[in-house]
């Protein structure tokens, strides 16, 4: 009699909420113990790594707090190709790839709703 081939399950597809690369996977944990590319040189001891991690956490936290503080405020964005635009900041996506803004003032008119691609932004500023 012929044998049958069954499939245990289908391959898992992408997660719609993020870009993957699970930091809890065995490979990630083994190959990126600090998840800090700057401090993976040999000779870095755990005290230095701890300090670096604390500094990074503090910086990350203040960055996230600036995003909260910016909500609904007028923000000026300096972008490549000498582009300067101003808009009301709405929100960022989880990977900080896009900023959702409203009333984006551009040289060719005001865009009611827009997404700014973060990698195109050089700097941005706003008044607290």
């Amino acid at each position: 009699m012929s044998t049958l081939v069954t499939v245990l399950r289908l391959p898992r597809g992408p997660d719609p909420n993020g870009r993957g690369f699970d930091p809890n996977s065995p490979r990630f944990v083994a190959l990126c113990p600090t998840t800090i590319s700057a401090s993976t040189e040999t000779g870095t001891d755990s005290v230095e790594i701890g300090e670096e991690q604390r500094a990074r956490s503090a910086l990350r936290e203040s960055f996230l707090r600036t995003l909260i503080a910016m909500t609904n405020k007028q923000v000026q964005f300096h972008m490549y190709e000498r582009v300067k635009v101003e808009a009301k900041f709405g929100a960022s996506d989880i990977d900080v790839l896009n900023f959702q803004v409203s009333e984006l003032q551009t040289p060719i008119g005001v865009q009611k709703e827009a997404l700014l691609r973060c990698q195109d932004v050089i700097s941005y500023s706003f008044d607290l």
């Binding site: 009699m1 012929s2 044998t3 049958l4 081939v5 069954t6 499939v7 245990l8 399950r9 289908l10 391959p11 898992r12 597809g13 992408p14 997660d15 870009r19 993957g20 690369f21 699970d22 930091p23 996977s25 065995p26 490979r27 990630f28 083994a30 190959l31 990126c32 998840t35 590319s37 990977d95 790839l97 691609r117 990698q119």
Partner: protein
């Protein structure tokens, strides 16, 4: 009569999949990267097709993608005129290499220290990844867009295929042409097998095998349809090919006999590659999917489980669906 085959379908891409590459075998298994016109190359576990992550950053279609042997680095070539190097564990972008035109091909050396790029500006470039700011070494000569550029002969030479209907072998140090092959039509794909120094080239309906050092022809095989890509099994007993008629063909390398053909894709097959252990092969198609096919149909491997008829009546409720030897299942 041989069994029909149910491929494992990996969805996620929203546009045609134009290139794919496997890593070597690592302590964590082997991995697969797919290049897609949606600009978002994906990393998957090689033996199951499970999605691991998406490399985000390119602003245009990604035409070429590769992994280093350890699957710690990835490189991609895109229509946004850049090649990018990525950390394949974290998914972070490590380097962006600006070019003057669409980049089509990227390839790491065995030790991952150098990256080879080629594209529509007809120039082959060698980047030293330890000195990314330094100007790349350039190799000129092709008169049309380069489709593929690969390291060969222990990274001392380079093989390139271009739309000028030539395949050229270059010396890395002198940057001179060592040998050249000319064809009547454009080469659609090229695969280099270091073990045994075999070069697999496809053009029209032909799959051709050459000695990669001398560029002497070993043999050619004709398929029933126009072929876009082919791959030789690591043991050099079979090769697989896919192209315009949406099917995957499996041939005996020794006798050149067509052994099997499999339907499954809903569009032309653009790329096909054997896994490093030869147990499966992956195909990418215009239909936006990747499909994993078993080399030995009926073997238990990865997500495939061979079930004897007696076992089916037991309380094994894990199975989702089975393929009997008769009608094919339309997904």
């Amino acid at each position: 009569m041989a069994m029909r085959q149910t491929p494992l379908t990996c969805s996620g891409h929203t546009r045609p999949v134009v290139d794919l590459a496997f890593s070597g075998i690592t302590p964590y298994g082997y991995f697969l990267i797919s290049a897609c016109k949606d600009g978002k190359p994906m990393l998957r576990q090689g033996d199951t097709g499970d999605w691991i992550g998406t490399f985000l950053g390119h602003k245009g279609a990604v035409w070429g993608a590769t992994l280093n042997n350890e699957a710690t680095k990835a490189a991609t070539a895109a229509a946004d005129f850049t090649a990018k190097v990525w950390d394949a564990v974290t998914g972070d972008e490590v380097l962006t290499l600006a070019h003057k035109h669409i980049v089509k091909s990227v390839n790491f050396t065995q030790d991952s220290s150098c990256l080879l790029t080629g594209g529509n500006d007809k120039i082959i470039r060698i980047y030293d990844l330890n000195q990314p700011e330094a100007e790349p070494q350039e190799i000129t000569g092709h008169t049309s867009a380069i489709k593929k550029a690969l390291w060969c002969n222990n990274d001392t030479q380079i093989l390139s295929a271009a739309d000028d209907k030539t395949v050229r072998l270059w010396d890395r140090n002198s940057t001179e042409v060592v040998k050249q092959l000319s064809f009547d039509m454009s080469v659609s794909s090229m695969e280099y097998i270091p073990d045994g120094e075999v070069l697999v080239i496809t053009y029209g309906k032909t799959i051709a095998f050459y000695n990669a050092l001398s560029l002497d022809m070993i043999k050619t095989v004709d398929a029933p349809a126009s072929i876009h890509s082919a791959s030789l099994h690591p043991d050099k007993d079979f090769f697989v090919a896919g192209g315009d008629d949406f099917k995957l063909y499996k041939f005996d390398y020794g006798t050149k006999e067509e052994l099997e053909s499999y339907k499954g894709h809903f569009g032309p097959v653009h790329c096909v590659r054997f896994s490093p252990d030869g147990e499966l092969y992956a195909s990418g198609s215009e239909d936006g999917t990747l499909r994993l096919w078993q080399t030995a149909v009926g073997k238990t491997y990865g997500l495939w489980k061979c079930v004897l008829p007696e076992e089916l009546v037991s309380e094994n409720s894990d199975t989702i669906y089975c393929t009997p030897a008769a009608p094919e299942i339309k997904a």
